[in-house]
């Protein structure tokens, strides 16, 4: 608990990835996500968080597997929208772990920051993890 992992390598947001994501959530025609001045859909922050999730799933002290988790809750704080060309690092901190028999509820937050030091968003997730049988 309280463990903070090193930030991920910078991820450069591209128009192509924004378009791919907007199409995947069923909003590919939204003019806000294309053309000059395009921004990423707000929940695109999850793309960047995903890289940081690897930290907990590869931590030998935790013995967690992504395939044994279900998403319980999610919160985003958006400081400013992501745009093509942004170079972003994601840093994960474990906020809370609660055990319930063979289940564990793990709450962690991922802070997204540009390589220039600008805070972009914070994504806080709770996952329920089930031990292997």
């Amino acid at each position: 608990m309280g463990r903070t992992y090193p930030p991920t390598a910078p991820y450069q947001v591209s128009q192509a990835k924004i378009t791919e994501f907007a199409v995947a959530i069923g909003d590919g025609d939204n003019p806000a996500y294309q053309g000059p001045g395009a921004i990423a859909p707000p929940t695109f922050a999850a793309v960047l968080s995903a890289a940081a999730w690897n930290a907990i799933f590869t931590d030998p002290d935790l013995d967690l597997a992504l395939s044994r988790t279900v998403h319980v809750d999610q919160r985003f704080e958006f400081i400013r929208p992501l745009r093509p060309g942004d170079d972003v690092r994601a840093q994960l901190t474990i906020d809370n772990v609660r055990a319930r028999g063979s289940m564990a509820l793990i709450t962690f937050s991922v802070k997204l920051t540009t390589t220039d030091g600008e805070d972009v968003a914070v994504a806080t997730s709770t996952l329920m993890h089930q031990e292997a049988k």
Partner: protein
């Protein structure tokens, strides 16, 4: 984007209680695969019945984040500029099970719960198979 008339036309307080136009979508298995690739969330419970059943689920379920992303469109379609969204939180109450043939119908709704200063708080609802799948779904947007 061209500057358009804002939907609250200078009287944000009057928005409290307003219902936003809802939408209905059908999630299909191929959309889950597409979302997995787009979001980089490759948890196999979203594409493998075997993996889903090992967790006690009836079959492949939609990514909670797909439901969350699709639900937000009710708000962004209304407000126009998605950069007005300042926070968004949900609890995933019930998994959305996606049938391999029929997919899963999900119905989204939203209502302005409160306006404080230049921030509106919007409550979202999502239902699939007659049951609520999100709870405490709340979006804050800037109105200024």
């Amino acid at each position: 984007m061209a500057q358009e008339a804002l939907p609250w036309a200078g009287q944000p307080e009057s928005l409290a209680g307003k219902a936003l136009p809802g939408r209905e979508v059908v999630f299909t298995r191929d959309q889950l695969v597409r979302y997995a690739g787009a979001s980089l969330d490759f948890n196999p419970i979203h594409w493998s019945d075997t993996a889903a059943e090992e967790l006690g689920l009836p079959g492949v379920i939609a990514h909670g984040m797909l439901t969350m992303g699709a639900a937000l469109r009710v708000v962004t379609d209304w407000i126009g500029d998605p950069s007005r969204v300042t926070s968004y939180s949900v609890r995933f109450l019930k998994p959305v099970v996606v049938d391999p043939v029929k997919g899963a119908e999900v119905r989204f709704g939203a209502e302005v719960r409160e306006v404080r200063g230049t921030t509106a708080t919007i409550s979202l609802t999502a239902e699939a198979d007659g049951a609520r799948v999100l709870s405490q779904a709340s979006v804050e947007v800037r109105l200024d």
